[in-house]
């Protein structure tokens, strides 16, 4: 089963939209890109109708309250009054039917419009969910061959990119609000979606389906680069890690190989070939570690190595007892993996 879905244009919900634009990295109200697409219109249509409906009903109830509020005694006898059926006919049937049919047709039209990109995708990227991080593999020959990274997807600006979503364990959901609504990663099937960034920049995302203890710490980023820069990035990522250049980092590599790191992590170009955790061949080129739990700094790297279970309890990354000197050279080595 597959579903193709297109980059989601702005779906702005006016309730509370005041002062919210540009407020936080996952804002569904701020969109990268064009206005005027069918999705934007659908979003606005739903928003306005919702607000009008709530407003009308609230006014009707408040008015009923205001016009009879003084009456607190119960000397009023029961009376039968008028049938009131026009209220039901207009408010309950005719008007809602018109609005709902319009909303439904709008929805169907939008679904059709976003089913596939207008041009063939420039790249196909496999996104594989893990508890609790994202494995990202670039498909195809040439520079994309063998490119494996984690928790960051680099894409070329202005070109549609196809994503193949699968999972190694439980259900996750791929969601980068400014570029795409959610598509689930489900065991036993591969769902596809597509994204297209109109501008260069970093787009935040997060796992959209509860997936266990650390669902809260499963961020993903889409980094849109100009096409030339994107191709250079592919070339860089495809290359194996260089040899350690000085005694300190050589010592760091030794620590990496002897402290158990290599059992779970790969560094292409070395003997480290573990397949449990993220590929670290170019870890220093990434902006975060631990699926967005920490910014990628040397201090955070050291903290993560010795205290992973305090930072992200339940994750597969064990707390590693490394002597302080070894830890420094290990972090220095990892810093060279650009």
């Amino acid at each position: 089963m597959t579903r193709m879905s297109r980059r989601r244009a702005p779906l702005v919900f006016a309730l509370g939209a005041w002062g919210m634009a540009g407020c936080g990295p996952l804002n569904t109200l701020a969109r990268d890109g064009t206005t005027g697409s069918s999705e934007t219109s659908l979003g606005w249509f739903l928003v306005i109708v919702s607000c009008v409906v709530v407003l009308i009903v609230t006014i009707l109830v408040l008015a009923a309250w205001a016009r009879s509020r003084g009456r607190q005694t119960r000397d009023d006898a029961v009376f039968s009054g008028s049938s009131g059926l026009p209220w039901i006919a207009w408010g309950g049937v005719v008007i809602p039917s018109v609005v709902l049919v319009a909303a439904f047709l709008f929805t169907i039209g939008t679904l059709d419009a976003v089913a596939a990109p207008e041009r063939a995708p420039a790249a196909t990227i496999q996104v594989i969910g893990h508890q609790w991080w994202w494995e990202v593999r670039y498909e195809g020959a040439g520079e994309a061959q063998g490119v494996v990274t984690a928790n960051e997807i680099h894409v070329p600006v202005g070109e549609p990119v196809r994503l193949e979503l699968s999972t190694s364990d439980v259900i996750h959901s791929f969601w980068v609000p400014e570029l795409a609504g959610k598509t689930d990663l489900i065991p036993g099937q591969t769902n596809t979606t597509w994204i297209e960034a109109r501008h260069a920049g970093v787009f935040g995302g997060t796992c959209g389906e509860y997936c266990g203890a650390q669902h809260a710490h499963m961020q993903i980023r889409v980094i849109a680069d100009p096409p030339a820069r994107f191709r250079q990035w592919l070339v860089d990522q495809g290359a194996p890690a260089g040899p350690a250049s000085d005694p300190n980092t050589a010592d760091g590599l030794r620590v990496f190989m002897t402290s158990g790191c290599a059992n779970c992590h790969s560094i292409r170009g070395t003997r480290a070939g573990g397949a449990v955790g993220p590929d670290l061949t170019h870890i220093a080129s990434r902006t975060t570690i631990a699926a967005g739990a920490l910014p990628n700094t040397q201090g955070n790297l050291m903290g993560w190595i010795v205290a992973a279970q305090a930072i992200k309890p339940g994750s597969d990354m064990p707390t590693i007892a490394v002597p302080a000197r070894d830890l420094q050279s290990l972090a220095a080595y990892l810093e060279t993996l650009k």
Binding site: M1, T2, S50, V57, S80, D112, D169, G181, T206
Partner: protein
């Protein structure tokens, strides 16, 4: 057809003796009085509401600020799961059944429910299953994958503790309670009405519970099957949901939501029915569009079975399937719109008296519409892809569940507690109660829409400061505590009224339905004589007069104080399903310990299964069988006694 001999005075003392439960422990455990069972349901469900509310408040403290470490992720995940399970299954449905249990026979002019012992069994199993699921929390192994328990994260490789075994067995256990309860309601509404209380005269509250009961009968087997599969897969390594072994994780989602979506209607339709009782009473006129509201109740129940896939729009379904379920999800709005405008029209065309129950009912209408539109927008698939599994949906479900369940329930307590205890609730405290809850609720839950639109996912135990979600979460936490104070005011008001409340008399609100005909609290036998009903508002007939169309038929007025006494043992009329013509005199069962013992045996079985103590499970099974044999053992009837 039995003859109805009007008599002027009923043998009150004999009725009392016949219907009253024996004092002492035996009476407590063996009673089948629907009023006692109803009150137990209400109290137990309110306790679950408070427990679930405390769980929510702890979570709100954790979420008030970014990067808080009050709770471990595991503790948080257990709390949000228990909060959801408690509120959805052990509060929201049982509380409504409590009202129905208490009110129905009074409203229907009957002396009991159709199956009084089954009624007792449904309460005891409800209580026992609640004790069972909270055992899990006490040993620190509460369900931790949400009330929705998605596979495969709920399967053993990812969740090796007892947590989800408690979930599966606890829900199967509770389902037994809910199923027999639904059967009892259906039996009661079909067979146990006063002569003349035909289907077109039934109160909307009865329609609500009846529809919910039918929906429960058809929806619950899907959940039961899912939970049995889950238990078998976890305990015995069968492969229903494991994709690597040919199972399907989506099978669980379908089974769960085939129950899950109708369940939402099961826990709101009776509450909407209660509002349809309160609004006419306080607006001093019959409900506008009664037949349309009744039909829209049933229509909601039916269409509710065709929308479950809108919970699964992000799972990669074919477009044609999404279109169908999107359309059905839009369509289900129409019956709700009919009900909303019936309530509003009743307020506009009546003369509202703003007592506390009406405040709750009017507040409910506004919250209902907010929760309604925030739900219907998710029927638009592309919008749903953005907001699903975010706090937008958390806001939506709370507007639905608190707005459409808790607000009517508290209103209904103000409305019917005078009937149950004979004492009025305090009006001033009641108004404080309403406004605290209403303001606290909106302050707490409206900002959740915004948190969701700012991209805050559901079920996260913490969030980083850089997310920009801090302010809305702090506001939500403050609102949640204000709302909790509102609920506390209700509890205080209840206890104050028990001691100091003004005496209610039989009909303090001058309402029109039958439950207000007898003294408050009602005697054990409900009605000294079985009434004969000629309209849907028997107590308003004198005020409405003969000319009101659709209310008073040509064949005359209802008889409340004159009718058949049926005082030869526990007796009431069995009537025909449509016209409520009396067909038989039913001999109702005596008190019995078997329902209680059966629930104990089931509890033992459940513990045996969850802890893999097979001897205990078998012992419990034998106990269940023994109880059933005892329960069904034929009795010799005394000569002259009618069966």
């Amino acid at each position: 057809m039995a003859t109805i001999a009007p008599i002027s005075t009923a043998p009150i003392e004999r009725l009392h003796e016949t219907w009253e439960s024996r004092p002492g422990l035996y009476g407590v455990l063996a009673t089948v009085d629907h009023k006692t069972i109803g009150k137990r349901y209400l109290v137990t469900a309110v306790i679950f509401l408070i427990i679930g509310g405390i769980e929510a408040l702890i979570m709100r403290v954790q979420l008030a600020h970014a990067d808080t470490h009050l709770l471990s992720p595991e503790a948080y995940n257990q709390l949000f799961s228990m909060h959801g399970i408690t509120m959805m299954f052990w509060y929201a449905s049982p509380i409504l059944s409590g009202f129905s249990n208490y009110i129905w026979p009074l409203m229907l002019g009957s002396r009991d429910m159709a199956y009084p012992r089954v009624n007792a069994l449904s309460y005891w199993t409800f209580l026992a299953s609640g004790i069972f699921i909270y055992t899990a929390l006490c040993i620190g192994q509460a369900p931790n994958d949400g009330w929705f328990g998605y596979a495969p994260v709920s399967l053993q490789p990812y969740n090796p503790g007892l947590n989800m075994d408690f979930y599966a067995l606890g829900l199967i256990f509770l389902t037994a309670s809910t199923t027999v309860r639904a059967i009892n309601f259906i039996g009661t509404v079909m067979k146990m009405r006063a002569p003349g209380l035909s289907l077109n005269r039934l109160p909307i509250f009865v329609y609500g519970t009846m529809t919910a009961s039918f929906a429960a009968i058809f929806a619950l087997p899907a959940l039961t099957a899912g939970c049995v599969f889950l238990y078998l897969e976890r305990q015995f390594h069968m492969h229903f949901f494991d994709a690597a072994q040919g199972g399907s994780p989506l099978l669980w989602q379908h089974l769960f939501w085939i129950l899950g979506h109708p369940w939402v209607y099961i826990i709101v339709l009776p509450a909407m029915g209660m509002v349809s009782e309160m609004i006419p009473t306080f607006c001093r006129r019959p409900l506008v569009g009664y037949p349309y509201v009744a039909l829209s109740t049933i229509a909601t129940g039916l269409i509710g079975f065709g929308v479950w896939v809108h919970h699964m729009f992000a799972t990669g379904l074919p477009a044609v399937s999404m279109s169908f379920f999107s359309g059905a999800s839009f369509l289900i709005t129409i019956p709700s719109a009919i009900a909303v405008f019936a309530w509003i029209a009743t307020m506009w065309l009546g003369k509202p008296v703003w007592k506390t129950p009406l405040l709750f009912a009017a507040g409910f209408v506004v919250l209902f519409v907010i929760g309604g539109v925030s739900g219907v927008v998710t029927a638009a698939v592309p919008f749903d892809w953005q907001v699903t599994d975010t706090y937008f949906v958390v806001a939506h479900i709370h507007y639905v569940l608190i707005g459409i369940n808790v607000f009517p329930v508290i209103g209904a307590f103000y409305y019917w507690i005078p009937k149950m205890t004979g004492r009025m609730m305090n009006e001033t405290l009641g108004k404080w109660n309403f406004w605290t809850m209403f303001i606290g609720f909106n302050l707490g839950f409206f900002p959740m829409h915004i948190a969701g639109l700012l991209g805050m996912p559901r079920r996260v135990y913490t969030y980083p400061a850089s997310s920009g979600w801090g302010t809305v979460n702090l506001i939500t936490t403050i609102g949640a505590f204000l709302f909790a104070i509102g609920v506390l005011l209700f509890v205080i008001n209840f206890f104050v009224s028990r001691r100091k409340g003004a005496f209610a008399g039989s009909n303090p609100w001058d309402a029109g339905t039958l439950e207000w005909a007898m003294e408050s609290p009602p005697p054990p036998y409900n009605f000294a004589v079985i009434p004969i009903v000629r309209s849907r508002l028997p107590l308003w007939e004198d005020q409405l007069g003969d000319e009101t169309p659709g209310i008073i038929p040509a064949e005359g007025r209802s008889h409340i104080t004159e009718g058949a006494a049926l005082a030869e043992g526990r007796e009431t009329f069995g009537t025909s399903p449509l016209e409520a013509e009396p067909l038989h005199v039913l001999h109702m069962p005596e008190d019995s310990l078997f329902p209680f013992l059966l629930a104990i045996a089931m509890l033992a079985t459940a513990y045996g299964l969850v802890f893999s103590q097979w001897w205990l499970a078998i012992l419990g099974g034998v106990g269940m069988l023994a109880c059933l044999v005892g329960w069904l053992w034929p009795r010799h009837l005394a000569t002259g006694e009618r069966a």
